[in-house]
Structures are given as structure tokens and as C-alpha cells.
């Protein structure tokens, strides 16, 4: 039997450290650049605070590695319930920051509980799947998973943080996929998302997708009910999006959804369009090799709003160019692939689901965050894992990785307890 630390996956930790390091570099550039004296006092401290958070994460990482897998397994329902209670508490007593009532003060620090709810949700779903026999996932399991994820999502919507809630909704197909839910059902679940996106970007494409998807389902299954369901779901989404954009949503909400399709348009210029125009200018002007550390005119001139948090990718794109941006994406891809590989090595469904959920959370964040910064997705305010400024998100994302690596490192312990 190998010594425990020999089975620790150091490569993942290297990728994590690299991403956190890149994040600190980007945040340093926004707070210690040549124009630092013009920053507000509160912004100037961002780098130092993030350094403290990174230190806390490192300590937390080490502590997590010491905890036996049984504790994770047994405490999973408590963690999930705790997360839900925290969300409720934030909703009732929490502090409102940037319009979202999702913060709870804990001593000198403030925590965004919706970030920690991600950990709870992943562990909760993993526990649910892990407590059943593998390969038995049916409609009931699927509905349970959907329920476990929709509950925090709805609470977070009530907290007025739709962006974070979308992460939980995005996790639904990912978790179902890993739980072994049939592919056809998954496709039925994913089809509305694709239809909705196309309906926003280019309506004829959405109509074409509805027709093609229905045809595809018929050819694949020859099942008339399923085909009709496919047509109803996708067609219904198309109609719902059209009605929502024209009838239900307020103009500023419509603008937020539509602005990424043409951010330079006059009607969007002063709102979200401004974020996107400036973000595109920053990333595009970075070119192949970037303008250099602390040399980005957009970054140093603070043209991109939220440039250390949700739009931190614009800093990397501008100052480190295509090469720097791709390096970040490749680190993420490496981490995603690595986590899936670790998941496959762990035969226990709980551990595998934690690994899968973790990589799912990362994938959703990277896709939505970078997609937003490069204007292929609407502006949805969620952070880039490990890189964006923000202690709660860094801690939550690191916790997911730490738990996965712990479970992997101690994967031989599972056999003792069985399932």
C-alpha cells in the first residue's frame, strides 16, 4: 500500500497554483499600476486582500487533505442543508452588495454564501447519487438531482443574483450526465438552452435548430411521443424567449440580454454595452503577445468595469495577449481533463460525482465568464475561478478542488465502507 502523500495528484495542485498566481498578477496590475494613485482606497487594497485569501486557501487546502473520506461522505447532507440555511439566512438577514442580498458578515470578513452553496450542491448531489446502486439512475434520480440543484438556484434568484443561479441550472445537465441519465433525456434538457441562445443571437438559426432537432430525435428514436416532446420543448422555448424579450422583461433587462450581440449599438452604449465594448477593446488590442505587465492602457485607465472581478479576463487579454489568454484556457482545460481522469480512477460514485461536479462547475464558469468577456454570451456576472478578485469564490472553488483531491488521494479508503 502506498503512502498517502504519494497518491496526491500534484499536477492538479500545480495547475491550481498557476491559476491563482496568474489571478494575483492580474489583480496586482489593476491595483499597483502606474495610475494606482488615482484609485479609491478600497480598490487599492484588493491585491493585499486577495493575497490573504490565497494564503487562507492554501491552509484550508492542507486541512482538507487531512480529513478522512468518511467525514466527507457522512457530512454531505449536513453540508448541503447548511448551505441552504446560509442562503436563507443571507436572504433574511444578509447584507446587500452590488444589488445582490447574498452576503453574510463573519467577523471582519464578508462571505458571499451563494459561492459556498456551489460546494454544498456538488456534495449533496454526489451523496444522492453515491447512496444508490450505480447504473440505476432513472427518472426519479434525475428529478431528485434537479430538485437538489433548483432549490439553491431559486434562493439565489431571490437574492437577486441571477448569474450565480444560472451556474446551478447549468450544473443540472452536467450532474445528470455523470449520474448516468440517458443521453436522449440529456439532449432534451440541453436543447432549450441552445434554442434560447440562438433565439437571442439570430432567430432564423433558432427556428432551423428546432426543426433539425425534432427531425434528429425522430430519426434517432423513431418514438413519436419523444419527437413530439422535443418539438414542444424547443418550439416552446423559442416562443417563450420571443415573448419574454418583447412582452415580459423590462427594457433594461432586454438590453442586458441582447447587448452582447451588438455592444457598440447606440441604445446599449451607456449600459452593459459599455462593459463589452471596453472589454473587447482591451482583449482585442492585446494582440498576440499583449501590451506587457502593467502596460495595458484599458486596464490602467480602468475602462473595463469590474476589471478585477468578473472582467478580469480583459486584463489578461490586454496585457498578456493571445498567448497569455490561451495559457489560462489551457490550464483550465488541463484541470478539467485531469479532474475527469481522477474521477474515473475513483470507482466510488460519491467521489466520482464530486470530481465530475467540480469540473462541471469550473467548465461552466470558464465558458460563461470568458464567453461574456469576449461577447459571445450575454453579460452574466460570475467570476473566473481562481483568477477573479473575491475571497468567497476563491475559497469555494479551491474547496471543491481540495475535496476532490482528498477523495482521490484516499480513494483506497472507500472499499472499507462500501456503499
Amino acid at each position: 500500500m502506498r503512502t498517502w502523500y504519494r497518491t496526491l495528484d500534484y499536477l492538479s495542485i500545480v495547475a491550481w497554483a498557476a491559476l491563482v498566481g496568474i489571478g494575483l498578477v492580474a489583480i496586482y496590475s489593476t491595483t499597483h499600476g502606474p495610475a494606482a494613485e488615482f484609485l479609491l482606497e478600497s480598490v487599492r487594497g484588493n491585491y493585499d486582500r486577495q493575497m490573504v485569501w490565497a494564503g487562507i486557501c492554501l491552509v484550508g487546502f492542507c486541512i482538507a487533505l487531512l480529513i478522512p473520506v468518511r467525514v466527507y461522505q457522512k457530512s454531505a447532507p449536513i453540508v448541503y442543508l447548511g448551505a441552504i440555511l446560509l442562503l436563507l439566512a443571507a436572504l433574511l438577514f444578509g447584507r446587500e452588495i452590488n444589488g445582490a442580498r447574498s452576503w453574510i458578515a463573519f467577523g471582519p470578513a464578508q462571505f458571499q454564501v451563494s459561492e459556498f452553496a456551489k460546494v454544498g450542491a456538488v456534495i449533496g448531489v454526489a451523496h444522492l447519487v453515491g447512496s444508490r446502486r450505480p447504473g440505476t439512475a432513472g427518472l426519479r434520480t434525475a428529478l431528485a438531482i434537479i430538485g437538489l440543484l433548483m432549490l439553491p438556484a431559486m434562493l439565489i434568484v431571490l437574492q437577486n443574483d441571477t448569474g450565480t443561479a444560472l451556474v446551478f441550472i447549468g450544473l443540472i445537465p452536467v450532474m445528470l450526465f455523470w449520474a448516468g441519465v440517458p443521453v436522449d433525456l440529456l439532449m432534451l434538457l440541453l436543447a432549450p438552452a441552445v434554442t434560447g441562445y440562438l433565439a437571442i443571437v439570430y432567430e432564423p438559426a433558432a427556428i432551423a435548430f428546432v426543426v433539425l432537432f425534432t427531425l434528429f430525435m425522430y430519426i434517432r428514436t423513431r418514438d413519436r411521443k419523444l419527437t413530439a416532446l422535443a418539438a414542444a420543448i424547443t418550439g416552446g422555448t423559442l416562443g417563450a424567449v420571443a415573448v419574454a424579450l418583447t412582452k415580459i422583461l423590462q427594457p433594461h433587462q432586454v438590453a442586458r440580454v441582447l447587448s452582447f450581440t451588438r455592444p457598440e449599438a447606440e441604445e446599449f452604449r451607456h449600459d452593459v454595452g459599455f462593459h463589452l465594448v471596453q472589454s473587447l477593446a482591451a482583449i482585442g488590442s492585446g494582440g498576440l503577445a499583449g501590451k506587457g505587465f502593467m502596460q495595458g492602457t484599458q486596464t490602467q485607465g480602468r475602462y473595463v468595469p469590474e476589471q478585477s472581478t468578473d472582467f478580469v479576463f480583459s486584463v489578461i487579454g490586454e496585457e498578456f495577449g493571445f498567448l497569455g489568454s490561451v495559457l489560462v484556457l489551457m490550464l483550465f482545460l488541463f484541470l478539467l481533463v485531469r479532474l475527469v481522469m481522477l474521477g474515473n480512477q475513483m470507482k466510488h460514485p460519491f467521489a466520482m460525482m464530486v470530481a465530475a461536479g467540480t469540473s462541471g462547475v469550473y467548465l461552466i464558469h470558464v465558458f460563461v465568464n470568458v464567453g461574456m468577456a469576449t461577447a459571445i454570451l450575454p453579460v452574466i456576472g460570475i467570476p473566473l475561478p481562481f483568477i477573479s478578485y473575491g475571497g468567497s469564490a476563491l475559497l469555494a472553488h479551491t474547496a471543491l478542488l481540495a475535496i476532490t483531491l482528498t477523495l482521490h488521494m484516499r480513494r483506497d479508503d472507500f472499499s472499507i465502507y462500501g456503499y
Binding site: G135, G138, A281, T297, G301, L329, V337, V340
Partner: protein, 608 residues
């Protein structure tokens, strides 16, 4: 159907997930390749225009010096206090007000104006602040956040004379001038030469603007030099303009004109360089380069004294008797008389039958030389009956009358030299030989400028070369190299040298025995001619022309004093004193009385 897919190997799902993740990341990489490689040029322009502000660095305006390098105009720093409202602490309003010695309400108002424009950018709030006040502001810098200052240059006039019509002045550019100078890099608020040297040589004086690139943040604040200032362009200072003006001569000329209206031009007859140019009343260019009180503008624009009007180059006066030497030359050259031909003066010309063609004395039978020396009107009336008007006009133009010089600085009038076409136009019912007769004594339909008179007497002085008068000797670049302006070549007068010499000699005798004998320069031979021009408004204008020394003249003068009587009482002494000062460097003690008397002469006040 769901059962069929239930028992898959998890590693297949793992592979599917990896493919999906790779596709998602690949999509983002493609998007970045489009933005950062294919469209990079598009966005780099956008980000640059966004965040980089080009500031102009104004070069020092060129200085102006006299012919020997003595400083006349340079620049001085004044200070402008700027307020950035976003950073200004309103509780310090009274402190700032007391430092600037203005009421609190003024600071409050300036602050409100600045806020209305842009709360994040420094707004010029108080201009022309002295250096001591800036010093006191700096002492309180820590208590006055958001208060900054910048240096601005202002013209400084260091010479003890105005030379307003030579130097001109600079002021803020007007909207019309901005349109006219489109493409030359002027912006609102810039200074531009409005007249004189400042306007004529605006381009060399202004120099070349430099650029400084600054990184600007989203609030419009300049936060740093762009790329460490490596793309900045240093300004090139304006050229120094070296005038032909003689510092001391100009100062004396202006002091002699106190209380008078008129003009004086002194030139070097061997080059056309203008040694002094006075037109009075004038104005102080220093006042014109500051914010002007309404009364000052009112005087400047509407006073009947017309301080803006350059009497040296624009006033049209009949030359009076100062034209007689030219008429004599015409008659000799046309062959209507010889040096020995005589005319008999009985106190008037027979055609005259009335008041116009009278002579001051009964000169008896005289030849041309004596006629000039004694300024006999009858002789020159007779000459005009013998010279046709076309010839008169041709010779007068050859002498520089009736046309622009062309002078390098300022505006000129052509003057008026009548020809037969002119008389036909003015006398539609016909005219006779008597009509142009009073041209012979420089009266009637004739107008010349003091500048033309100076050029004329200078050409007689040097023996027959008419030089182009000019005010600029050379331009000196900041690196020490020198550029000379192109001055047209002198033209030779259409008069035989012997005739010129005869007239020159007569002019010498004017100074020795004639009307100029009171104002001879002690010890220096000179030549001159007085003139008294009838002025329909009040007393006669006093006119005088002279050159000295007689053999190789180095100064020639045309002087005119409005409404001051005879040529020998006002204009003559001024010319003589100036020539003496220029030639000897001082005024002889024996001439103090003449100097005092000349100072005391006043032009008859203008009617209200």
C-alpha cells in the same frame, strides 16, 4: 428505451465530457484568435483613441530683438490656477479665496463652473496669477487637494518704447481666424499674432508644436505618460526675429512725438532697412496682450485718434514742398528745362488768377537749383505746365509713390498719384492745363505716406537707387543658424546722375542757407526739404525729409506731424535730432534748446 443506455462504462462518459470541455475551450480559443489576431488592429486603434490623450506642448514664442540684438519682446511666465472639483475640499474654499485675495463667492462660483464642465478634469479657474501667490499655494498644497497650477506664457515688452505698429500684438485666436488657419494646428484658446511683426511672421515666431501622450483613465484624468513618454515629440521654439529697428533711435523718435499726431520713418538709404518707424498716437502692446477693459477696447477701436491706424504707411498726405525736388528732376529729365533755364517769379503764377497759385515771396528770375533751395512755388507751377500728367505719374511711381513698397510688416496704402485717367474721372466736364498745376508744389489730388517719403529721400541720398523698405533683418533659429528674408533688388531711378546731383546739391543748400538752416546737424553735412501740407481739418501738416551725411548717407528720414504748422517747426527738428542721434550717438549740448522746443510742440487737438 432508457434502459438500453443505462449500463454504460463511466469512462465513456468521461471521454464524452472531455470532448465537450475541449470543444468549449476550443471555441473560446477561436474567439480569442479572432479578436486578438485577426481583428487586433481594429481594437488597438479603439483602445488607443480611448485611453491615450495627445497634449500639445507649446514652444516658446520667438523673441524680437533690434538690429544689434537688444531685446525688445520676450516671454514671461504667468500662472493659471486650476481646480479639479472632484478632489477639492469645499471646506477649504475660504483658504483658497484668501490665498488668491478674492471673495469666497468667486471661488464658489468658479468651482460650480468647473463642476458643470467636468468634475474630474482640472479646469482653469484663475488666470494671470503671480508667482508669489503660486508660492503661497504650494506652501498650503497638502491642505488644498485638487488645486493645481500651470505655467502659461505671455508676451513681455522690455523696450522703453511701444513700436506698436512694428511689433503688433498677440491675443487669443478668434473663431474666424481658426477657420482661416484650419489645418495649421491652432486650437481654441491659442494665441496668435494680430498685427505687425507678430502677425506677419506668425509662422516662424510660433515655432513647431510638440506632442506629449498621456494615459487617460475612464474618468478623463491623466494618470501617466503613455509608454514612458517615448512617443512624445519635443516642441521646436520659434525663431528669433531680428528687426532692422535701432533701439535708441526708436526710443528717441517716440519720445519726440509725445503730444503729437504723425509719423516718422528712418531708413538706411544703402539698404532700405527701416531704422525707426513711429506712428502716433499708438498703444502699449503690453496692454493689448492682457485681458482688456471695455474702455480700453473702446479707445482702441473707435477713438478719433485712431491708435491702430499706421500713419507711417497708411496716412495719405499731400507732400507739399517736399515733392519739389522730384518735380525738378522730372523737368530736367524730360528736357523741359536745363539747369540754367530760368523762370520769373512775381509772387504767383499767371495762370493762377486767384488764390491757389501764389508764391510765398517774389523770387524774381531764378533757375531750378535756387527754386528748390528757396522753395519757389511759381517755378514749380510753371514746371507742371510743361510736364504732361502721364509723365508726372510715371516718374512719381518710379520714385515709389502711388504703389505699395511692398513692406514686409503691416498694412500699407498705395497713396495717390493722379494720371490723366484720374483727372478725366474726377472732372467729367473736362479739365485744363491748370488743373494738375498744384501737383508741382505737392498739393491737390496727391497722397503719399511717410514711408514713401523716406524711400524717396533715401534714393536721392544714395544717388539714384530705390531700395525696398523692410523691417526684418534676419531670423535666428534656436540652433544658431540664420535665415535672411528675401528682399527685392533695388530699382534704379530713371534720372541721369548729373540731374540727381544737381538736386542733391540744392537740398544741401536748403540745410545750409534755406529753410533748414536752423536745424543743421552741427558738424555734419546733410540735405533736406521742408514741406507744409494744407490740411482741410485745422492747421497745416508739417512735413520734412532729409538724409545725412551728405556724401555717403547712412540715414534718410520722412517725418510728418499733423496739424503742427510749418515743416521747419515740428517735423524738421524731429528729423534732425534723430539723424544726429543716429550718426553721433548723442545730441550735442548746443541743441538741448532745440530738443526742448521740439518736445513742446503739440498737434492741434482734434475736434470732438
Amino acid at each position: 428505451m432508457m434502459r438500453e443506455t443505462r449500463s454504460e462504462d463511466p469512462s465513456i462518459r468521461g471521454r464524452i465530457f472531455m470532448v465537450v470541455a475541449s470543444m468549449v475551450i476550443g471555441l473560446l480559443v477561436l474567439r480569442l484568435a479572432k479578436l486578438q489576431i485577426l481583428d487586433a488592429g481594429l481594437y488597438s486603434g479603439e483602445s488607443r483613441s480611448n485611453a491615450v490623450r495627445e497634449l500639445r506642448v507649446t514652444p516658446a514664442r520667438g523673441t524680437v530683438v533690434d538690429r544689434r540684438g537688444r531685446l525688445i519682446v520676450d516671454n514671461e511666465d504667468t500662472y493659471t490656477v486650476l481646480i479639479t472639483p472632484r478632489y477639492f475640499d469645499p471646506e477649504r474654499t475660504d483658504l483658497l479665496a484668501s490665498l488668491l485675495s478674492v471673495p469666497d463667492t468667486v471661488v464658489t462660483r468658479k468651482l460650480a463652473e468647473a463642476t458643470a464642465w467636468n468634475a474630474f478634469r482640472p479646469s482653469p479657474a484663475f488666470r494671470s496669477v503671480s508667482f508669489d501667490v503660486i508660492g503661497r499655494l504650494l506652501e498650503n498644497r497638502s491642505r488644498l487637494p485638487g488645486v493645481t497650477y500651470e505655467a502659461a506664457q505671455k508676451r513681455r515688452y522690455v523696450a522703453p518704447f511701444n513700436a506698436a505698429h512694428v511689433l503688433g500684438y498677440v491675443r487669443e485666436i478668434t473663431r474666424a481666424e481658426l477657420d482661416r488657419h484650419r489645418g495649421e494646428g491652432y486650437r481654441s484658446g491659442d494665441l496668435i499674432g494680430k498685427s505687425g511683426v507678430e502677425s506677419a511672421f506668425e509662422r516662424p515666431l510660433r515655432g513647431t508644436m510638440g506632442s506629449a501622450f498621456r494615459l487617460v483613465n475612464v474618468h478623463g484624468q491623466e494618470v501617466d505618460a503613455f509608454r514612458g513618454g517615448t512617443e512624445d515629440l519635443a516642441p521646436v521654439a520659434g525663431q528669433e526675429v531680428v528687426l532692422t529697428i535701432d533701439y535708441d533711435l526708436q526710443a528717441l523718435a517716440e519720445s519726440l512725438f509725445v503730444g503729437k499726431r504723425g509719423a516718422a520713418v528712418a531708413i538706411d538709404p544703402s539698404s532700405g532697412e527701416i531704422l525707426a518707424l513711429v506712428s502716433k498716437p499708438d498703444y502699449d502692446p503690453d496692454i493689448m496682450s492682457r485681458p482688456l477693459a471695455p474702455e480700453a477696447w473702446d479707445y482702441f477701436l473707435t477713438s478719433p485718434e485712431k491708435p491702430q491706424f499706421n500713419r507711417a504707411t497708411q496716412s495719405l498726405l499731400p507732400p507739399g514742398s517736399t515733392l519739389k525736388p522730384l518735380v525738378a528732376l522730372m523737368a530736367l529729365q524730360e528736357g523741359v528745362i536745363t539747369p540754367r533755364s530760368t523762370v520769373t517769379c512775381n509772387g504767383g503764377h499767371p495762370i493762377g488768377r486767384g488764390q491757389f497759385f501764389r508764391c510765398m515771396h517774389v523770387h524774381g528770375t531764378i533757375a531750378v537749383g535756387t527754386a528748390i533751395e528757396q522753395s519757389c512755388n511759381t517755378f514749380f507751377f510753371e514746371m507742371m505746365t510743361r510736364i504732361d500728367v502721364e509723365s508726372f505719374a510715371r516718374y512719381a511711381r518710379a520714385m515709389g509713390f502711388g504703389r505699395r513698397a511692398p513692406l514686409d510688416v503691416g498694412e500699407e496704402d498705395t497713396g495717390l498719384i493722379p494720371d490723366s485717367a484720374y483727372f478725366n474721372r474726377m472732372n467729367p466736364r473736362g479739365w485744363t492745363v491748370g488743373t494738375p498745376m498744384n501737383l508741382g508744389v505737392g498739393q491737390g489730388d496727391i497722397g503719399v505716406t511717410p514711408l514713401q517719403l523716406a524711400g524717396y529721400i533715401g534714393a536721392l541720398g544714395n544717388g539714384g537707387l530705390l531700395y525696398t523698405p523692410h523691417l526684418v533683418l534676419e531670423f535666428r533659429n534656436p540652433d544658431g543658424t540664420v535665415e535672411r528674408p528675401e528682399i527685392p533688388e533695388p530699382t534704379r531711378l530713371p534720372f541721369d546722375r548729373s540731374n540727381v546731383d544737381l538736386v542733391r546739391d540744392a537740398l544741401r543748400r536748403v540745410m545750409e542757407e534755406g529753410t533748414g538752416r536752423w536745424i543743421q546737424i552741427p558738424g555734419i553735412q546733410s540735405a533736406g526739404k521742408t514741406g507744409t501740407a494744407q490740411n482741410p481739418r485745422g492747421e497745416d501738416d508739417s512735413v520734412f525729409i532729409m538724409f545725412a551725411p551728405f556724401d555717403h548717407p547712412t540715414i534718410a528720414l520722412g517725418v510728418m506731424v499733423e496739424n503742427a504748422g510749418f515743416g521747419s517747426t515740428a517735423a524738421g527738428p524731429i528729423a534732425s535730432l534723430l539723424a544726429e542721434r543716429y550718426l553721433t550717438g548723442s545730441i550735442a549740448p548746443g541743441r538741448r534748446a532745440l530738443y526742448e522746443r521740439t518736445l513742446a510742440v503739440k498737434s492741434q487737438p482734434l475736434p470732438d
